[in-house]
C-alpha cells in the first residue's frame, strides 16, 4: 500500500513541476527545434560564387545509395565554356524519390564535390504515392534554404582550412626549433 502512495505522490509532484515547466510541446503549432547535425532529407547545394550548383552529376552518390532512390545525368557546363566556372561538367537532371530515402546520409559522405547536404527539411508528407519525387530545382531550393539558415561551409573547404592551420602550426614549430638551433649555434 505504502509504495502505491509513494508513486502517487511522485505523480502529483511531477504534475506540479510539469505545470510550471511543461515537458510536452504542442507540436504542430510549436515546432520542435532540430539539432545542428540533424539529418533531414538530402538536398543539393548552390555555389554562390559562380552561381551554379556544386553538383556535377557524377553519379557517385547514386551508386552508393542503399535504396537506389536517386537518379541524375550530367552535361557540359556552359559557364565553363565561357570561362566563368572551373567545373567542366554540370548536373543536367537530378531526381530523388524522398519517399524511398531512408535518411542514411551515405550520399553526403561519398560526394566529392560538397554538392549534397542533409538538410533540416523533414515535414514533407504528401497524399500521393509519388508526391515526394523532387527534381533539381526543388532540391536546389531546399539546399539553398539550408545554406541560408545554417551558415553552411563546404566540408572540403573546412577540411582544407583545418589542414592549413595544422601545417602552419607545424611550420611555426619547425621555425622555432630552427631559431633555437641558430641561437645555440651562434653561442
Amino acid at each position: 500500500m505504502l509504495n502505491s502512495v509513494k508513486g502517487m505522490l511522485l505523480t502529483l509532484a511531477s504534475t506540479f513541476t510539469g505545470l510550471r515547466r511543461p515537458v510536452t510541446r504542442q507540436y504542430p503549432t510549436v515546432p520542435t527545434p532540430v539539432q545542428p547535425r540533424f539529418m533531414g532529407f538530402p538536398a543539393l547545394t548552390w555555389d554562390n560564387g559562380v552561381n551554379e550548383p556544386y553538383c556535377t552529376g557524377c553519379m557517385v552518390c547514386i551508386r552508393n545509395c542503399p535504396t537506389q532512390c536517386m537518379s541524375a545525368s550530367m552535361m557540359d557546363n556552359p559557364l565553363n565554356a565561357e570561362g566563368q566556372s572551373s567545373r567542366r561538367k554540370i548536373v543536367d537532371y537530378f531526381e530523388i524519390n524522398l519517399n524511398r530515402c531512408i535518411l542514411c546520409g551515405i550520399c553526403v559522405e561519398v560526394c566529392n564535390f560538397d554538392a549534397i547536404v542533409m538538410s533540416h527539411e523533414h515535414e514533407m508528407s504528401t497524399y500521393e504515392r509519388n508526391g515526394d519525387r523532387v527534381n533539381l530545382p526543388a532540391l536546389l531550393e531546399i539546399g539553398q534554404k539550408y545554406q541560408r539558415e545554417t551558415t553552411w561551409i563546404p566540408p572540403t573547404v573546412l577540411a582544407k582550412a583545418k589542414k592549413d592551420a595544422e601545417d602552419a602550426a607545424k611550420a611555426a614549430e619547425a621555425a622555432k626549433v630552427e631559431a633555437a638551433a641558430a641561437v645555440e649555434g651562434g653561442e
Binding site: M1, N3, S4, K6, G7, L10, T11, S14, V23, V34, Q35, P36, R37, F38, M39, N64, P66, I102, L103, C104, G105, I106, E109, V110, M118
Partner: protein, 384 residues
C-alpha cells in the same frame, strides 16, 4: 460471397445443455494488437479465462534483412542493422562493425571504442526505459510511460546531436565512427547523466515496488534456469532466472573489460524478476557511462579505412555482443567480394520468444500480455 466459418455474433450452440462442459475457444490476438509490441500474432486456445495452448505466428514484419544484406556493400549493411532491433540501433551497429573488423583484423581508435561504449550504454538505457513504459501499460498503469519517455527523449536528443538521427543513426563505421564528435560532446553527456539518473530513479520508484504491479507480475510467467537455458534465453530474461551470464563479462568485447560493473541477477525467473533486472541494469549502464567518460582518451575517432570500398578477405567470423535484449550474434561469411556472401543474425528476441508456448500454457489471458511484455521483444528483430 464466401460464408464465414465462424459466426462471431452467435451465442452458445443451441443444442448445448445448460451446464455443459467448458468449450475451448479460439482467440486471435494480434497482429495489430496494441500489447503485442509490434506486429506479433498469437492464436490462443482458451478454456474460459485459462490458456490451454498457444500458437505463435511470427513473420508479419519479415523484410528479408539477411537476404538484403547480401546485395548491399559492407558500409550499406549498417543501415539495415539499424532497422533490426529498432530501439537498440547503436548496439546492432556495433555487433556488425565488430564482425567486419574481426574479419579484416582492423583495430579501432581507442577514443572511438569509448564513444561506442558510451552510446551503446545510453541506448541500453533508452531501450529499457521504453520497456518500463510498455510493461506499465501492459500491467495497466499509464503514468510510467510518461516518466520513461521523458528520459528516453533526453537520450534521443543527445543521439540527434551526435549522429544526426534520433533512431536510425548509421553512425558507426567499420573501423571507427562516421565523423568527429560535436565539440561539446563530453559536456552534453555530463549534463545528461544527473537528469537521466533522476529519470531512471523515478521510473523505478513509480513502478517496481508498487503493490498492484507486484501482484500482477510476481509469480507470473515463471521459468526455471535450466528451462531458460534450454530455450536459448539470454539477456535480462536469463539473468532474471538467476544465471549470471552477460556477454560483456563472459567474453568482453570493445573496452568493456576496463569497467567495473555488476551483473544483476534475479531469483525466481518470473516476470517481476525480469523487470527488476532491467531496472538495475540501467543503473549499471549509467555507471559504465560515467567511467567511460572519465577514462576517455583524446584523439581521432575516424576509421583508418576512410571512404574506401572494402573487400574483406574470404573467411567466416562470428561476433557477439550484449544487446539490451540479450546476446546478439552476427555470423558473416565473406568470399572476398565487396558484399557479404552470407550474413546470419542471432536475434535475442527471437530466442527469448521461443519460450512463449511454454510460458503461456495454463496462465490466464490477462497474464499473457504481461508475460509477453516482460520478454521485451522487438518484432523488427524477431521477424527480420
Amino acid at each position: 460471397m464466401v460464408e464465414s466459418q465462424i459466426d462471431i455474433t452467435a451465442g452458445p450452440p443451441p443444442d448445448a445443455p445448460p451446464n455443459a462442459e467448458p468449450v475451448e475457444m479460439l482467440l486471435n490476438m494480434g497482429p495489430q494488437h496494441p500489447s503485442t509490441h509490434g506486429v506479433f500474432r498469437m492464436v490462443l486456445w482458451v478454456d474460459g479465462e485459462k490458456i490451454v495452448a498457444v500458437e505463435p505466428h511470427i513473420g508479419y514484419l519479415h523484410r528479408g534483412s539477411e537476404k538484403l544484406c547480401e546485395g548491399e556493400q559492407y558500409h550499406q549493411v549498417i543501415t539495415l542493422f539499424d532497422r533490426l532491433d529498432y530501439v537498440a540501433n547503436f548496439n546492432n551497429e556495433l555487433v556488425y562493425c565488430q564482425a567486419v573488423e574481426k574479419l579484416m583484423g582492423l583495430t579501432v581508435p581507442e577514443r572511438a571504442e569509448y564513444v561506442r561504449v558510451i552510446l551503446c550504454e545510453l541506448n541500453r538505457i533508452a531501450s529499457h526505459l521504453l520497456y518500463v513504459g510498455t510493461i506499465g501499460l501492459d500491467a495497466g498503469a499509464m503514468t510510467p510511460t510518461m516518466f520513461a519517455f521523458r528520459g528516453r527523449e533526453r537520450i534521443q536528443a543527445l543521439f540527434e546531436a551526435v549522429s544526426g538521427a534520433r533512431m536510425m543513426h548509421n553512425y558507426f563505421r567499420i573501423g571507427g565512427l562516421k565523423e568527429e564528435l560535436p565539440d561539446n560532446f563530453e559536456q552534453l553527456i555530463r549534463d545528461l547523466l544527473p537528469l537521466l539518473r533522476e529519470d531512471v530513479a523515478e521510473s523505478d520508484k513509480i513502478l517496481t515496488f508498487n503493490e498492484i504491479f507486484l501482484s500482477r507480475l510476481k509469480d507470473v510467467g515463471r521459468i526455471s534456469a535450466e528451462d531458460a537455458i534450454d530455450f536459448g534465453f539470454t539477456g535480462p530474461c536469463l539473468r532474471g532466472c538467476g544465471v549470471e551470464y552477460d556477454v560483456r563479462k563472459a567474453q568482453p568485447y570493445s573496452v568493456y573489460d576496463r569497467f567495473d560493473f555488476d551483473v544483476p541477477v534475479g531469483l525466481d525467473g518470473d516476470c517481476w524478476d525480469r523487470h527488476w533486472v532491467r531496472i538495475q541494469e540501467m543503473y549499471e549502464s549509467l555507471s559504465i557511462v560515467e567511467q567511460a567518460l572519465a577514462q576517455m582518451p583524446g584523439g581521432s575517432v575516424a576509421s583508418s579505412l576512410g571512404r574506401r570500398l572494402i573487400r574483406p578477405p574470404a573467411g567466416e567470423v562470428y561476433a557477439r555482443a550484449e544487446n539490451p535484449r540479450g546476446e546478439m550474434g552476427v555470423h558473416l561469411v565473406s568470399k572476398g567480394a565487396d558484399r557479404p556472401y552470407r550474413l546470419k543474425v542471432r536475434p535475442p528476441s527471437f530466442c527469448n520468444l521461443s519460450a512463449i508456448k511454454y510460458l503461456l500454457k495454463d496462465s490466464w489471458i490477462a497474464d499473457s500480455v504481461v508475460i509477453l511484455g516482460s520478454l521485451d521483444i522487438v518484432l523488427g528483430e524477431v521477424d527480420r
